[in-house]
């Protein structure tokens, strides 16, 4: 991506003053090997405009090409190294919209996983940090779930990676549907998923984990051994709030135990506190409950 953009609000690219300056590709363009091969095409079109950007190392990048008299094949070749290839007649607004859409796509690509569409590790680590900070500030619980498919390697080896990938996509969708709207499902890597569960005690997470485990074993897949997953759980301690890696390590440790204890099970790290006040009565509610003018005079 170029580090800056041309002024796309200009009335029309062909009449823009810049047009005269970069009417022909500047000599610097020649240095770029990819562009070098395209010079022939660029020179062919008399109405051509190339808007260039030069990065820190002096390497030129081509990001808008105005080309009126090119064949489709030539336009495609240019499009390979250019953000936008337009004709003078193309409406600028359309081009801007397209650019915006592409930008958005690029941004989303960096936070989501290309295969499954789930959040990727980068987003996961960032969000986990936010949730840990929230736990530290509010005392609200937060649990973390790691899900690892039990026989995914076998599936890959038996049916090929293509089939394996298809299954991962399907699985991501199914798990997503089984979680609550507030749970944040991420692809941790390979066949491992991570779920950040804000405002969730380990106890509740365990309930959800067990439910998910039972559900996963019912998913049909193309191997003789049934589909199953090992699940590891941990809860962030609001008092000794963990760091990101520490929290992940805990859940990972639980997952490892689930694996070594025979797979297809849910294990957890830390203390299961079942005597935790969940949603205590607020001061306002207390005042409202105890304001009993209507009951005065009832005392014997």
């Amino acid at each position: 991506m170029p580090s800056s953009k041309p002024n796309l609000n200009a009335p029309s690219p062909s009449k823009h003053p810049l047009n005269h300056i970069v009417q022909r590709p500047t000599p610097a363009v020649k240095e770029g090997p990819a562009l070098n091969q395209l010079l022939k095409i660029l020179r062919k079109d008399k109405a051509i405009s190339a808007w260039l950007d030069v990065d820190d190392r002096g390497k030129p990048e081509l990001f808008v090409v105005l080309a009126d008299h090119l064949s489709n094949a030539e336009r495609q070749a240019l499009a390979g190294v250019t953000d936008v290839v337009v004709r003078a007649a193309d409406p600028l607004t359309k081009m801007i919209a397209e650019l915006k859409r592409q930008n958005q796509r690029l941004r989303s690509l960096t936070l989501t996983d290309g295969l499954t569409g789930l959040y990727n590790y980068r987003f996961f680590a960032k969000q986990l940090e936010v949730e840990i900070a929230r736990t530290r500030r509010t005392g609200q619980p937060c649990s973390l779930m790691m899900i690892d498919l039990d026989n995914f390697k076998l599936l890959n080896d038996t049916l090929g990676h293509n089939e394996g990938n298809n299954f991962l996509v399907k699985l991501a969708q199914i798990i997503g549907e089984k979680l609550r709207p507030t749970d944040i499902l991420c692809r941790y890597g390979g066949d491992e998923f991570a779920v950040i569960m804000p405002a969730t005690t380990l106890f509740d997470a365990l309930r959800i984990g067990e439910r998910l485990k039972a559900f996963l074993t019912a998913i049909p897949w193309k191997l003789d051994t049934p589909c199953s997953a090992s699940i590891g759980l941990a809860e962030c301690d609001p008092v000794f709030a963990h760091g990101v890696s520490e929290f992940i390590d805990m859940a990972d440790k639980a997952l490892y135990r689930a694996k070594t204890e025979g797979k297809n099970r849910v294990c957890f790290e830390g203390k299961l506190q079942e005597m935790r006040p969940v949603a205590s009565v607020t001061q306002d509610e207390k005042v409202a409950l105890l304001k009993r003018d209507d009951l005065k005079g009832d005392n014997e």
Binding site: F203, E274, V278, A279, V281, E285, A288, L289
Partner: protein, 251 residues
Amino acid sequence: MESTKPVITSIASGKGGVGKTFITANLASCLAKGGDKVLVVDCDLGLANMDILLGITPMFTLQDVVFGDRRVEDVIVSTKAGFDLVPASSGVKEMGQLLYEKIQMIKKALDTITSGYDHVLLDTGAGISEVVLQFNLFAPNNIIVLNREPTSLTDAYAVIKVMHQRFARNFFGVIVNSANDEKDASRLFTHIDAVSRDFLELPLHYLGYVVRDQAVPDSIVNRKVLVNIHPDSGVGMNCASIAGAMATWTQ
């Protein structure tokens, strides 16, 4: 007798000592008198006392199912009060703090025995511990017992709030115990109902009241179920009226 799915109802209160166990026993007797087959499960695993109220000494309890190898059907006792009981025993320390696996185990065990009954009443413990919440969650119908003490009101509200916010429960039947009279009771209900509507946007359902009467503590001291010895007393008729409403519930 026709075999239908049982109506499972939990009775909770938040605060202890508001008459949960008394009301459970009396409602169960009323339902039984109406011809229904009724099972009461003493879910107050920390301080169980349904057996004491009924004047029985059970040989085995729910604890023997969870920590021993008794089957739950072997623990059921039929009582003179007209209903069957799964008793629990008091004072077993680890029982009040059951872990998740044990609760699941109890739930599974209950699933196997409830099918023969028309009504199953769960007498849950005080507080809002996980065990109490889970038993309330097991029952599709939740009854909250409260009285006019401020602490009873706030604790009852806490149970409703947690069950509503954490488990999306929307139906709570409220019974006002130890009321001076009908007006006193309905004012108290209107009050907690208004707070629940204001803060939780959740209307509550009034099931009725039980009037304050010396006959209540007397029946407890005598270890008899009041509706069976004084069915025509005020308390007896109050309980019959609530049971009448519950008898129309279907699963």
